[in-house]
Assembly symmetry: C2
Homo-oligomer: 404 residues x 2
């Protein structure tokens, strides 16, 4: 199958490109390198020494004999170039990773708020509008987020996108199946709610075939393909904006910094290993909806953990201490999370669990590249609103103590 991967130079996009190329698909990567530009803007860098896209592609050809094409293109700005690309390449599917994907960055400043909304909405809308204008039958696979869901703490199990409810009315009301009510926790998450509204419209109005992957927090760095050659290494973010909670714990442990837990650490989050992410993307590509179907939504996660339990797990494996800092986010201090993820399991996904993969990740990534850590970049400095601003220390509340 011919697949265009939007954002194919990024953390999920690059290993997805390799995974799909390795399985014989014809892959074209599209990227505007905005993620690398944001690293420059923030003074941050991937812990792993990632190569430029051309060097990555050359290495892939050298090692495997397979070819990945690439096009530099700002999807949110240059609609006509993207339409031309569709008409030239005539892909079977487009995988859309081309959005600003850090919640803290989306809340960092008025400029990053506006960039996130403008970029993400226009990128997604351009994909949909161009597929319609092209007249081609292209399956759109989009990376969404578990963060669109709202009532995770209500003691129920979050379904895969659609919720059965009873609506009041005459004769005792009517049953309806609705898109799960959204309650996004950041502007980044909000853009994914805007995306799903656009998907629902285009699936209904234009019979586009669309799959939306509501993904949990991705952990891990490598896949068998990225491990083939050092030049293929994937990015690993540990800074306060782009580093996910687990990555930041691993790096803190590796450099002897206490693990900084926000608030009580009672937030429960969904997780998935990067290896499973790329497998899920391929499974979604192999099982498209039909024209006229509603948007197919998968919950792309394999396990849930409470943040303080993750901290304890990393502490146990590394000897690090755990410290508490004020939570910069506007969110509940504690929440439960129960998620239905049977769709991918039924399609054959065999999850990589945290309990079996975490030690390898510590050794192969965090410890190996610990000499590249800039400790000043670890604290989360983006706050959600002015009420969260006062008293946020740049450093942990408790004094730093010895780690791994």
């Amino acid at each position: 199958m011919k697949i265009v991967i939007l954002g194919g130079d990024g953390f999920c996009g690059w290993p997805a490109a390799l995974h799909l190329s390795a399985r014989g698909h014809d892959v074209v990567v599209v990227d505007d390198f905005s993620r690398r530009a944001i690293d420059d803007q923030l003074g941050t860098a991937s812990l792993t020494p990632i190569c430029g896209l051309d060097e990555r592609r050359a290495a892939w050809s050298e090692v495997t004999g397979r070819r990945i094409d690439a096009v530099e293109l700002d999807l949110a700005e240059d609609y006509e170039a993207f339409l031309d690309l569709l008409l030239t390449e005539r892909p079977d599917a487009v995988v859309h990773f081309a959005e600003q994907r850090a919640a803290p960055y989306s809340m960092r400043s008025p400029a990053t708020k506006r960039y996130t909304v403008d970029n993400n909405v226009n990128a997604t809308h351009h994909v949909l509008c161009a597929v319609v204008e092209s007249g081609l039958d292209v399956h759109v696979v989009h990376l969404g987020t578990m963060g669109v869901y709202g009532y995770g703490s209500a003691g129920m199990r979050i379904p895969e996108g659609y919720l059965d409810v009873q609506v009041p009315g005459p004769d005792g009301g009517v049953p309806q199946q609705i898109l799960y009510p959204s309650n996004p926790g950041s502007l980044y998450h909000m853009t994914k709610v805007l995306d799903q509204t656009m998907f629902a419209f285009y699936a209904k109005n234009d019979r586009l075939r669309i799959t939306d992957l509501h993904q949990g927090i991705v952990w891990g760095t490598g896949t068998p393909e990225t491990a083939l050659d050092e030049r293929l290494v994937n990015r690993f973010d540990y800074d306060g904006d782009y580093g996910t909670v687990l990555n930041r714990f691993l790096v803190q442990a590796a450099v002897g910094h206490p693990l900084t837990v926000h608030g009580t650490g009672g937030q429960t989050r969904a997780f998935i290993h990067i290896q499973d992410t790329v497998r899920c993307v391929e499974l979604a590509l192999l099982h498209p909806p039909s024209a006229g179907d509603r948007v197919r939504i998968f919950n792309q996660m394999t396990e849930t953990h409470r943040v303080r339990d993750l901290a304890r797990l990393v502490a146990r494996l590394t000897g690090a201490e755990v410290a508490t800092v004020p939570n910069p986010r506007q969110e509940s201090a504690e929440n439960d999370l129960h998620v239905d993820n049977s769709a991918f399991l039924d399609l054959g996904l065999r999850p990589t669990t945290l309990s079996e993969g975490l030690l390898l990740e510590i050794e192969q990534t965090a410890v190996r590249w610990a000499h590249r850590v800039d400790p000043d970049r670890i604290p989360a400095t983006s706050v959600w609103n002015t009420r969260r601003r006062p008293g946020i220390p740049a450093r942990p509340v408790r004094p730093a103590a010895v780690g791994a």
Copy 2:
């Protein structure tokens, strides 16, 4: 109260500015004149001979001694200028009409689809982001649409924004109150769904005070203020993109054209007179939510009618014939619509009904300015998707017959 009116040169914005100025409020109009530019683009014009904004404002001062200030500004493009305006004017409220508001125009071409989404999303997000950045306590009043609602045909009464549902779960499920599930009928309507998602986020995260007016189709042209002087006249659109169904019937009748009903005419729509629109806006301004409240949603409509019944009513008053043309929209041929609109009635709104106001509208607007009609502009030529394209005639199916 000091009020900034975004889109204050437009069909709802201008009479709202006059209404609020007449009641002693301090009004600043902001507009980028995009509505006038779209008229130029489409080769259309208001049936009524509207003056430029400067001439309108000068006439208002001359007639009433009151002053309306004006700033030319593209809200979706020039965030910093809007922020400066807020910091300079320090308004108590911002009324946000500054969106592309025609469903057919939003579906007309890839370019108008992209313009509508980009313009409307960024305009709304800039309002919210700038109010937060300003640090001011500004009440945001937004013109939304009844078209965000989804299940109007399910036999229930649409509540004012929020729906009580029973969600399945342990112990027989839990009651939840959710934002009414959306099911927009065009990209224009979809942008209003995106708006309400942004409003919910900013009300929750930043405690912004926001009122969203879910308005029906506006009919009528004048208010007591626009009637004070011919230079104050409001716009009246009758073209296939911007003309609402009732306006197009009135103009068709006035020029002896059959009234063109789309499909069976079984679509039920909500209506409100422009005079009631501006009253509702003032009522909303006088009854703001408190900081920390959820978004306050009003259903801003006063009656519902089936399109074919409207055609019959206009035919009876004018002697026009009724003709049927294929429906260019992707929508149900027939739908019911029951709407709860008690909030504005409880605040004192006394509706202008179609049965008492329609004849005046015919005489004072449609017949009076009939010599300005360009009949070529009346047919709806924007189609919702390729399946709606074949067989759409530029003219009614039945031959034109004698009208009023």
